[in-house]
């Protein structure tokens, strides 16, 4: 789907485009105005080739309240909290994952042909087999999607339960039979057996080299190298002992025999043979890479009739930790299927959010259809994006919404001309203002429902809110003109100001590109989205937090005495992507 302008994205402070990555210590204690000053000095360039890696929609970011900073996927680490099977939704303990591998050991199998879930189906014995077997039920695994069934590899089960046991038994029986059939010198080693042999071999190797049966394991002479060095200091050591100590750091050798896990090329399936088979069976019955990778049992399967059902791979549920202070940023509840979180520090709930929309006179906003793509069902219903005309002043309403329970003082800073090849002039008519505190959820709900009957649309609602608070009459809204230094509208927890943008001309850039194509190539395609008008805005939010005695004082260190309000300050870059400029 095409990108819908305008939208906003937020720069994570971990990028060196904004500032050096925050260190744990100085961010935790207090704020450094000098560091923030530094941020303001160097303007964030949204057209920088690396800017895309620093910009995220606000919903994708988390907030560490210990470090007081935004956190993006680059500055959090993920930690597996538990494993579970996506089919039977049972949790698998980590010891079982370590021991048995990351696949479900219950009767959860996926189709080796199409990866959908296999069902255990009952089949009654064939009639022509005679009465003796007719009443004995057998069970097969069947794919409800592509109709693959375990009959294709001639696999039937006596019971509908404990499929895993039955499969491993049948597989063992079949492979040993195959191995006995094959010539004894060209005995192909199975993957599972080879792996088991290799692990035991390597474990032996490790124990041989690292554990020299040293009785002084806790002494400083524990390592043979140390011992040898000290012995040589004092001179004199029998030749044999010296030789032995020199032998110690010998390199680990590799497996040499099949019993140690060595697997060499065997002639069992000669290439000519395989090509012959491929010719007769055709493409459809040759396995794809995806099918071969579906399970370890299918690694060597060249044809679809060699595919075994694949045990369901397990899923994980992960928590996210801040890389700087290691505290959990999100931590889901430890129960399979639960979507609740014990800890969830979303950036949306912690930093003021900016949004931008074109400034339209009042009468237009009420009747205009919504341009929010989230409310459009189909792509074709979306209005075609309007191109910005160069050198035509356009006004936008910039709304800052406060999710905090304290009122926040906001200062917005933006370069007078946007960075990048196309220089557009940007003026925020009122760059400093305060935004009121957020209330409980139901406050918002009540406020919006009580007014939605009179006017629809966001502009109407904010106007109605404004009339409620008594700051201005709704009738005067229609012919109001934006003024410098005055805020446009204000609701309980959001404030809107007017921004004027004079888009620059793309023409200057394009002629340069046309005249010197090589020069353009040298910049590595940097001119690709140069016609998108992107305005970097530095937001600085300041607020005061009432710190109750005994609360969070253990966590935080600050210089002020515990009773006094704690002054907090947060600065971050926001990029407003306004739209494309017509060329």
């Amino acid at each position: 789907m095409a990108i819908q302008y305008p939208f906003t994205s937020y720069a994570c402070p971990c990028s060196d485009l904004t500032s050096p990555p925050p260190s744990t210590v100085n961010r935790r204690t207090s704020f450094h105005p000098s560091a923030i000053q530094l941020d303001e000095d160097q303007t964030f360039n949204p057209h920088s080739p690396r800017a895309n890696h620093a910009l995220y929609p606000l919903d994708h970011l988390l907030y560490c309240d210990e470090c007081d900073a935004l956190r993006c996927p680059r500055c959090w680490t993920e930690e597996v909290l538990y494993w579970y099977c996506p089919m039977c939704l049972f949790e698998v303990p980590s010891s079982a994952v370590k021991g048995d591998g990351n696949r479900c050991s219950r009767s959860c199998y996926t189709c080796p042909s199409c990866t959908s879930q296999l069902a255990v189906t009952q089949i009654t014995g064939r009639k022509e087999d005679g009465d003796a077997t007719a009443d004995r039920d057998t069970y097969i695994l069947q794919c409800p999607y592509c109709d693959w069934s375990s009959l294709e590899i001639d696999l039937q089960f006596d019971r509908p339960t404990k499929i895993t046991e039955q499969i491993s038994r049948l597989r063992k029986a079949r492979t040993t039979a195959e191995q006995e059939k094959a010539a004894p010198d060209a005995k192909p080693l199975l993957h599972e057996d080879a792996f088991a042999n290799l692990t035991t071999f390597y474990k032996e190797q490790l124990s041989d080299t690292t554990d020299p049966q040293n009785p002084y394991s806790n002494s400083p002479y524990s390592s043979p190298a140390n011992l040898a060095r000290i012995m040589s200091l004092y001179g004199g050591l029998p030749y044999n002992a010296l030789k032995k100590s020199k032998e110690k750091p010998q390199p680990m050798r590799e497996a040499l025999q099949p019993s140690e896990g060595l697997r060499t090329y065997t002639d069992a399936d000669s290439d000519a043979n395989i090509i012959q088979q491929m010719q007769t069976l055709g493409w459809d019955r040759t396995t794809s890479a995806h099918q071969r990778n579906s399970a370890p049992t299918n690694d060597d399967a060249r044809f679809t009739d060699q595919l075994w059902p694949a045990a369901a791979p397990l899923c994980t549920r992960r928590g996210k930790r801040c890389k700087a202070c290691r505290q959990f940023l999100t931590r889901p509840e430890g129960k399979v299927g639960s979507m609740k979180y014990r800890i969830r520090l979303l950036a949306v709930n912690h930093i003021p959010r900016l949004s931008i929309r074109p400034f339209l006179p009042q009468q237009q906003t009420t009747g205009a259809p919504t341009t929010n793509p989230a409310f459009h069902l189909r792509a074709e219903e979306l209005p075609t994006p309007e191109l910005l005309q160069p050198y035509q002043t356009k006004q936008y309403i910039l709304t800052v919404r406060n999710p905090l329970f304290e009122s926040v003082h906001i200062s917005l800073a933006t370069p007078a001309t946007t960075p990048g090849k196309v220089a557009s002039r940007v003026t925020i008519l009122c760059p400093t203002f305060t935004v009121g505190p957020a209330g409980e959820l139901w406050d918002d709900a009540l406020a919006s429902t009580s007014n939605s009957s009179t006017t629809s649309g966001d502009g109407g609602r904010s106007a109605a809110m404004a009339s409620l608070t008594g700051s201005m009459a709704e009738s005067s809204m229609a012919d109001r003109q934006p003024e410098a230094g005055k805020i446009w509208t204000k609701t309980r927890n959001s404030t809107s100001v007017v921004m004027e943008i004079v888009p620059g001309s793309v023409g200057v850039g394009t002629t340069r590109i046309v005249s010197g194509a090589e020069e353009h190539d040298d910049t590595g395609g940097a001119g690709e989205d140069e016609d998108v008008l992107e305005v970097p805005v530095y937001v600085r939010a300041e607020w005061e937090v009432e710190v109750k005695l005994g609360e969070s004082t253990g966590k935080r260190k600050f210089d002020a005495d515990p009773g006094a309000p704690l002054r907090k300050e947060l600065g971050y870059w926001v990029v407003l992507s306004v739209g494309r400029i017509a060329s």
């Binding site: 996506p86 959908s116 069902a119 399979v336």
Partner: protein, 169 residues
Amino acid sequence: MSRSAPASRRTAKTEYIETDTGNKISRRAHIEGKQNIMLGGKTVIMSGVHLRGDLCRKPEPAADGEKEKTSVTAISIGRSTIIATNSIIRPPNRLHKGQMTYIPMRIGDNVFIGPNCHISSASISNHVHVGANSVLSSLCIIKEGSKVLPGTVVPPNMTIPAGRRWWGG
């Protein structure tokens, strides 16, 4: 399913019929077996949607000429769920004791089903988003908060765990 008379008779507003509990049903939706469909309230059924409430488990044959029970639920849809245009909601069927029976379908609260979908799931939990042109095959189970991306085919009997994004087909 109870329907109240439309609140207003203005021509521009008669696309949807609103029930007592705030369900909005398009006049252009095709609904069969009304008595077997339950809507939780504030649910929107858009135009062209097929709700096959007639496909339900046949009630036990009435004993001794008594009146048949007719209130069998075939489709139950929760609160604030949206079923977008031209989607087909068809209860799944299964061979049970040699007979083809229909299994009631449950769709939770706050579910969004995009346009042109074909839904035959056994259950769709709350807060599930199903993208446009998806096919949810017979008896699949979509757990809470999952998102099925547009154009996805979910095979029969599949379980999608809670909070997962699912695509392909």
